[in-house]
Symmetry: C2
Subunit: 242 residues, 2 copies
DNA sequence: TTGACCATGGTCAGTACGACCATAAAGGGA
DNA sequence: TCCCTTTATGGTCGTACTGACCATGGTCAA
């Protein structure tokens, strides 16, 4: 039988309208307090009551998975302006027993937020909060795997795309940008070499005219940059091979 | 509400069991007769009757999307030995109106076959056949976009993975391997340079002991190689930037 | 025998990258 | 006030990699 068309052949009718629930799961990442952090919600009901889980929810009949993800993220974080936010579809998890109650097919997304607010914790979630990626206990369902896939995908995309600027506020220093790479990859980078690579890539970043950051920071004030127009990095900025 | 858990909140019950059909769509690619070819089926019923479409079908209640894709591919091609076949999950297409009859959420996969057989064309498909990627008319549903995404993904993965060997028979020459790259990317590559890169990458290919291809081919017989143990290419084999 | 054709080996200059060193500009503490 | 630490920025230098070539070797067909 064909995926999205054709008459339903003999023997398939009883399956075609099997109640598959379709949901979205969100791996919302940010770089805060020098660490990679994840937005998690505490489950209030069985199964996995009291465990932490990725935020998410059902896809409504008249919206796409992307729209559902954006709606759930807005409800969870309380952010109203999610335009321009990077939402990356990871993959779809469809193992029959991933939810013990019923058949749930979940489309997973990764979202990157700069300088995020404290989450509301509303809805049916007992609590919602940011937690450091490296200090997580086991999550509910298969969310450990989803989160690991999100981390791997984001780490890989940093190499050949301008994604890192999505972790930064609209104006940022090269030190902050480097910090994003170091935090996601878990490695230290040479500052002058990083600088040379970034500035040599056309369209990655562009300087803010006549501005320099002064307050607060120790050391020499750094120049401010904005995200450039480029989407891909040529050549890529590869992770250390070690 | 949570994606895969928690009680269904007020107002959501009527949506949770909305009959979302979940299907798989397959972009099956091969390199044949010097061109990139795609496995397509002709639709026999409305909508899009008579148009070509990607093979695929419903996910059954007790199987994952990956298992459904493998099953559909076996049914379509008649191949019994699909172990070791590379099946790459592309993404999920969930726009509400992508199928005019009902709400269908489709998980798309890309599959790579070396030297494939003629397809059966059985099932409910009127016909099934290989067609050159560059000479396709508009496909049914959103399959044009799925196929374009598959092409882009495969092209990108050739750069930093050993995926190209999946297009080749178990033993192949470096000329055949280069032909895969040239066909998928649509560019010509310098033969000595390609050779140098591939042989310098540990684990990409390994020579078949004491064998050389003689028959049939014009010119000097080429050495035979097998796929090596590596999965990723370090450093990557980048497309020409032009 | 000759030439077309393909596989294979090698050269060479430009470039990119990693590992450094050096300088500039700010704040903090003695 | 004078260091000293901290961070940003600029530069060097040798190695490795890449792209553009040229050259040779082996096989088949005309």
């Amino acid at each position: 039988m064909r995926a999205s068309g054709g008459a339903v052949p003999e023997g398939y009718d009883k399956y075609a309208f099997e109640p598959f629930a379709v949901t979205v799961d969100l791996a919302v990442l940010t770089v805060r307090a020098g660490a990679l952090q994840v937005l998690l919600v505490e489950r209030g009901a069985e199964p996995y009551a009291g465990r932490w889980a990725l935020p998410g929810g059902f896809v409504l009949p008249r919206e796409s998975a992307e729209e559902a993800a954006r709606r759930e993220l807005a409800e969870e974080t309380g952010l109203s302006d999610l335009t321009g936010l990077h939402l990356e579809q990871l993959r779809t998890y469809s193992e029959p027993d991933r939810d013990p109650r019923m058949r749930v097919v979940s489309v997973a997304f990764a979202a990157l937020l700069p300088d995020p607010p404290e989450p509301h914790g509303g809805g049916d979630a007992a609590r919602a909060m940011w937690q450091p990626y490296d200090e997580l206990g086991p999550l509910a369902f298969d969310h450990d795997r989803i989160l690991a896939d999100a981390h791997e995908r984001v780490g890989a995309k940093l190499e050949y795309s301008c994604l890192a600027t999505s972790f930064c506020p609209p104006e940022f220093t090269l030190g902050e940008l480097q910090h994003v790479y170091e935090t996601v990859w878990g490695t230290a980078l040479d500052r002058p070499n990083f600088r040379r690579k970034v500035l040599a890539t056309p369209g990655f970043v562009e300087p803010v005219p006549g501005a320099a950051r002064l307050t607060g920071g120790r050391g020499k004030p750094a120049a401010l940059y904005r995200a450039g127009g480029a989407k891909a990095l040529h050549p890529p900025l590869l992770r250390p091979t070690s």
